[in-house]
């Protein structure tokens, strides 16, 4: 009885797999190319330049598999509702798929930027605090720096990779602003606000649309957005667009010289006198990067019990949660140690300062994004005020 059922399912399944593969998904030469000594298993060339291990008998490579499940259509879950698909299927593709209608001006974008973005990305997208720069000037000019390479002369100028000079398509920016920004409260911007911010990004990178300058008055909408051509649109390899994309990718990774890899016949690899005579040993200079947290140690002792471990570690929490924005000018937050700056803030009265810290203000999210209690947050505010007198 079981066997009969099994055969029926198997037949149906084979058909579906045939359909599935007929589309050119698997036309990458599914003939075994060689045998590995390691596993006495046959391997097949893979799209990434490596090998894959097809199931042979009841094994793939060194692993046993239960082949029964290969033959079964396991009907788990349920079909999503139309509304559920709309709610989650919101990705934005280069051809405009998923890009909603809407509009926003450069001017509005700058205002939103100053309120919600500048504290991390700096004035005019110049970067700061470990967050990415969004612009370094004219995109077309900076795109030309991508051939800069410090490989032969360490003192040479390097390439500048920012949105304008490097990114191949603008849909990436629109999509990421909408779903990932602002970092402390993502998915809170309206479509119009995203258009406005994208317009501002184009403005500070001096990118033109259809020959037109994106100046302060410029209003970006879906139609104009789809006309954007990024300066570095053709700056990437292998090709990943169009119906031949996967063939192109497979071909690219067949050649190790394309991606800095090296193939060798193990029997003839160099084992003796492999180097030229004049080799140089380069060392880590000036101790290198060594500010590790916690400091490097392999000692096996009991951890020191600091008083702060018993309760709330103000200094540590300040460093983790507050310092990134309150340590330097240009982040929009009053700088710890800046008497005048804090005097201005304190003019609101302590209850106002606490309230702003608890609920967030301008670019600062509620509690600065910290996972601390209200009372603990007040300790952090007190710490900054105490250090700014």
């Amino acid at each position: 009885m079981f066997n009969t059922n099994y055969k029926l399912i198997a037949t149906a399944s084979v058909l579906s797999i045939a359909t599935l593969f007929s589309a050119g998904c698997m036309d990458d030469g599914a003939t075994p190319t060689k045998t590995t000594k390691a596993n006495t298993a046959t391997t097949i060339a893979s799209i990434d330049g490596g090998v894959k291990y097809p199931v042979i008998g009841d094994k793939t490579g060194p692993y046993y598999v239960n082949n029964q499940s290969n033959m079964m259509k396991i009907n788990n879950g349920r079909v999503p509702t139309a509304n559920e698909l709309v709610a989650w299927d919101k990705d934005v593709m280069p051809d405009g798929t998923g890009l909603p209608e809407g509009s926003g001006s450069v001017e509005d974008g700058e205002e939103i930027y100053e309120a919600q973005c500048v504290m991390c990305h700096g004035d005019f997208g110049s970067g700061g605090g470990g967050y990415p720069s969004l612009s370094k000037g004219n995109a077309d000019e900076l795109q030309k720096t991508l051939t800069n390479n410090r490989w032969k002369d360490p003192e040479a100028d390097g390439p500048t990779r920012v949105f304008g000079s490097y990114w191949p398509v603008a849909s990436t920016m629109w999509w990421y602003i909408r779903d990932g920004m602002p970092h402390t409260k993502s998915k809170t911007l309206s479509n119009d606000e995203v258009y406005a911010l994208t317009a501002y990004m184009l403005n500070i990178n001096e990118i033109t649309i259809d020959g037109e300058e994106v100046d302060d008055e410029y209003v970006l909408n879906r139609e104009k957005f789809l006309k954007i051509k990024m300066p570095n649109r053709d700056g990437f390899e292998p090709n990943i667009d169009g119906p031949n994309a996967l063939k192109d990718v497979r071909k690219y990774y067949e050649n190790p010289a394309n991606f800095g890899a090296k193939k060798v016949n193990p029997a003839t690899r160099c084992m003796k006198d492999c180097q030229e005579k004049s080799v140089v040993v380069t060392r880590v200079e000036n101790g290198g990067i060594s500010e590790f947290l916690p400091p490097m140690s392999v000692v096996r002792d009991l951890p020191k019990k600091e008083a702060s471990d018993m309760g709330f570690n103000v200094l540590k929490n300040y460093e983790d949660n507050c310092m990134p924005c309150h340590v330097a000018d240009g982040m929009g937050a009053p700088v710890t140690g800046d008497k005048e700056g804090w005097a201005e803030v304190l003019a609101k009265g302590m209850s106002g300062v606490y309230k702003n810290a608890l609920e967030g203000i301008n670019g600062m999210p509620a509690k600065g994004g910290a996972s601390v209690s209200d009372d603990e947050l007040k300790l952090l505010v007190d710490y900054m005020i105490d250090n700014s007198k």
Partner: protein, 438 residues
Amino acid sequence: MDNKKSINDLDISDRRNFFKRTAALGVTALAGTSLIASEDDHAIMHHPEWGQKWGDPVTKNRYGIPSAYEHNNTRRNTKLLASGNYRASIAVTPIHESEGIITPNGLFFSRSHGGTAHIDPKEYRLMIHGLVEKPIVLTLDQLKRYPSVTRTHFIECPANGGQEWRGPQFNSLQFAKGFMASAEWTGVYIKTILEDLGLKPEAQWMLAEGSDNSEMGRSVPIDKILDDAMIVWGQNGEALRPEQGYPVRLLLPGWEGNLCVKWLKRLDFAAEPWYAKEETSKYTALKPSGKAIQHFYANEVNSTVVSPSPEKPWTDLEDGDIVEIEGLAWSGMGTITGIDLSFDGGNNYVQAKIKGLLLPKSWTRWSYMHTYKKGEVLLLTSRAMDDAGYIQPTIDEEVSIMGVESVYHRNGVETWEVTPTGEVNHVQVRTPGGIKDV
């Protein structure tokens, strides 16, 4: 009693060999100084505190934690590899303390683009849609109803070693090579689920999207989905840790860690790729031509000496000590087939020995026995090969093709310098004029 019994259990020839070996060792051991102690060891001569009073009841630490003495065996971070507040950052694995080919879950390197999300498993949903005959939504329990597979694979950030294209930066194994870790993963092959959903012929790409703050997404070619791509929920015999995407992440064996999308919420099949932020602005490798490699999938064959290392020097060794040089080798393109070890920075090599399990797209342990000469200076360089036919290039060979601006996918050979006092430094061996235009 137990010791005696075990010797009696040996067969005659084993026993004879055992005694012969012991006798031979005894002679050489006496000739050395290490076994002749002048003073009795306090650790032996007194009753330690832990042997004279009750230990903890079994009711303590219902989820076990490491010995308090192991507190320095921990992930570490550095401000130079961090956004201001450690939310789009990395904490790296202490591979200098790693044993075998499995990383404990608490030490698995942690990288996120919007902080570690904490997902309520009851509200977890996975949606699979796009160019499939039947889109579906799964709860966590429904997902786990699929037949599971368990595989041991490393996950490596393609920026592992990426700070060192222009010269060594970290005098530390943890930071030079710790943007990776390895685990035994349990989940379901995506191809198993697709048998029911039915992939449409024009589907070439799959978007994997996370539900975290950054909504991390990447495009994956269908080849990988129909090969060994997995949706995993198990890590070393328990649920994924939050830092690894609890409750569910994508696992693309051997491929960039960034592609193994965590907190996975959605798989969308389409005819064209998406150009997500982490496959354009980052995770692309700029070459001297000005063109950048995009969709750079597999982490190439690689290796490192683990012991000695800057963290685990040989300063305690005496002249004539026999010491095991130990290392790791791995390849995202296949199975390790051999590791060569050089004592002179890559001029001459000997073959090292593979130890333990040899698995595809997995860490592989290797070692080589060495008799230490007091005061010797060594340049320990390891070089691995895989069954896809690749070997690690020299630094000059790799830079000749990739330049020094590509950040990602650096797999040139790595060298540790052993100084006369047994300290170990991270160095690079270069040939002047060794960068050739290719």
